[in-house]
């Protein structure tokens, strides 16, 4: 049987097998290094034949294809190696340097309520932008850091930059399904301003808000329904006096 299947390498490479034969041959291929090697070399040969037919396509095809890819999602790779899929922790190099610098968290909120929302389902680009913001805050001359009792987290803030970042790891998921964490700025008079919502990504969190922090006396984290709330409604998870 194996010998018969081996004779199919050429027909397989030229897509000349029917669906059943293809399935049988591919099953054989998985366990036959010799056939895999032969298939690979015959594929190169077939590609050589094909390449000899090269002809320039109509120029319009180029624009059409290049336009189409901008709206076409790529399939994720079989391995976790492509950068966009790396776990948060490995995706960024900040953890070590910042931890060494007694890092950080900053939470900034916009008094107007236009809080920057930064969540774990962010695109890579957003993640990189947020990381860059966080680095700028943490390296500001007036940056101060406060521990937060939420996993292993800190708030780093800069009054001069009117910005803060909440950064942490080992943060448990919100206890209630479908809920998220939300940061609040609590002013001296007891009024609150909404900050960003966030959920841990493999235990990691990073939330950034910009706004005037000079009148903020404490930062508070609550549990809120997905999407966040205009005013705190859920249980208090952590409080940091500034």
């Amino acid at each position: 049987m194996a010998e018969n299947l081996h004779a199919l390498t050429g027909a397989y490479v030229l897509d000349a097998l029917d669906a059943d034969e293809t399935a049988a041959f591919e099953a054989h291929l998985a366990g036959c290094a010799e056939c895999r090697e032969e298939v690979a070399s015959l594929r190169e040969t077939a590609a050589f034949l094909g390449r000899a037919e090269a002809q320039s396509p109509p120029p319009a095809l180029r624009r059409r294809v290049l336009d189409a890819i901008t709206t076409t999602t790529q399939e994720r790779g079989p391995q976790p190696s492509p950068a966009p899929e790396l776990p948060f922790r490995r995706r960024f190099g900040w953890r070590r340097p910042l931890a060494a610098a007694a890092a950080v968290i900053m939470v900034g909120g916009l008094a107007a309520g236009g809080a920057v929302v930064y969540r774990d389902h962010r695109s890579d680009q957003q993640a990189v932008a947020a990381e860059a913001q966080m680095m700028r805050i943490a390296t500001a001359p007036d940056a101060v850091s406060h521990p937060v009792e939420l996993g292993t987290s800190h708030v780093v803030m800069s009054l001069a930059m009117s910005a803060a970042a909440l950064v942490g790891e080992h943060v448990p998921a919100p206890p209630d399904r479908g809920m998220v964490y939300q940061v609040w700025m609590v002013h001296g008079d007891g009024s609150t301003a909404a900050g960003p919502t966030f959920t841990p990504d493999d235990g990691d969190v990073l939330a950034i808000v910009k706004g005037d922090l000079s009148t903020v006396s404490e930062l508070m984290v609550t549990e809120e329904p997905d999407g966040g709330s205009p005013a705190p409604t859920g249980p208090k998870v952590a409080v940091v006096a500034l």
């Binding site: 004779a7 199919l8 390498t9 050429g10 027909a11 030229l14 897509d15 000349a16 097998l17 029917d18 895999r36 032969e38 690979a40 070399s41 015959l42 594929r43 190169e44 040969t45 077939a46 590609a47 050589f48 034949l49 094909g50 390449r51 000899a52 037919e53 090269a54 002809q55 320039s56 396509p57 109509p58 095809l61 180029r62 059409r64 294809v65 290049l66 189409a68 890819i69 901008t70 076409t72 999602t73 790529q74 399939e75 994720r76 790779g77 079989p78 391995q79 190696s81 492509p82 950068a83 966009p84 790396l86 490995r90 995706r91 960024f92 190099g93 900040w94 070590r96 340097p97 680095m135």
Partner: protein, 199 residues
């Protein structure tokens, strides 16, 4: 920040280091990471081979263009599947192109049509394979290599590769037993591989 950049770049540890491989492989690895500019460069490397092969198989410029677009979109979508340990980037792209073109021609034409057409063309199949010879050095090498095959080997490869015939159809078109058809396809390709010096 430098540490950050270094780690970003070296994290895909199983991958060959940047800068190794053929230009097409380097580009394809970048495309797998969503690099649209690399895709544009890769397009310029593979579009003509893809379109030329599609045109040869479907024999209709409009259809060949549609097939090429599907193939090039596959390249973008599926780039992460490319595994350099299993072959070259060009072979990976041309495998996608051949499959798409053959699927298309099989949908468009019934088996009878393809077999009849193939049967009518079979006597001059050798010339047909080689008709575009002088276009390039590759083509000239292929032409010479095809000349070393027996006529049954050459015709079997022509029918399967460029006409989209399955191996039972090849056997019917050439009037040879089924086992002979698949054996001739295989040993013909092996001969071409050796004559062309393909790794």
């Amino acid at each position: 920040v430098r540490e950050h950049e270094r780690r970003l770049r070296t994290v895909p540890g199983e991958h060959p280091p940047p800068g190794t491989g053929t230009p097409a492989e380097r580009l394809l690895r970048l495309v797998a990471h969503g690099d649209a500019e690399a895709f544009e460069d890769l397009y310029d490397v593979v579009a003509a081979p893809v379109y030329g092969l599609a045109l040869r198989i479907v024999r209709n410029p409009g259809m060949a263009e549609e097939v090429s677009q599907e193939v090039l979109m596959d390249v973008w979508r599926l780039a992460a599947r490319f595994d350099p340990s299993r072959g070259s980037a060009m072979a990976w792209v041309m495998t996608l192109a051949h499959r798409r073109a053959v699927d298309r021609v099989r949908r468009e034409e019934s088996q009878t049509e393809r077999t009849q057409r193939a049967g009518a063309l079979a006597p001059e199949a050798g010339d047909d394979v080689a008709q575009k010879v002088e276009r390039s050095l590759d083509a000239a090498r292929v032409h010479r290599a095809l000349g070393t095959l027996t006529s049954v080997q050459r015709e079997a490869i022509d029918l399967a590769f460029f006409r989209g015939l399955t191996h039972p159809e090849v056997s019917a078109a050439l009037g040879v037993p089924l086992g002979t058809a698949k054996t001739r396809i295989r040993d013909g390709l092996i001969k071409l591989r050796d004559v062309l010096g393909v790794e």
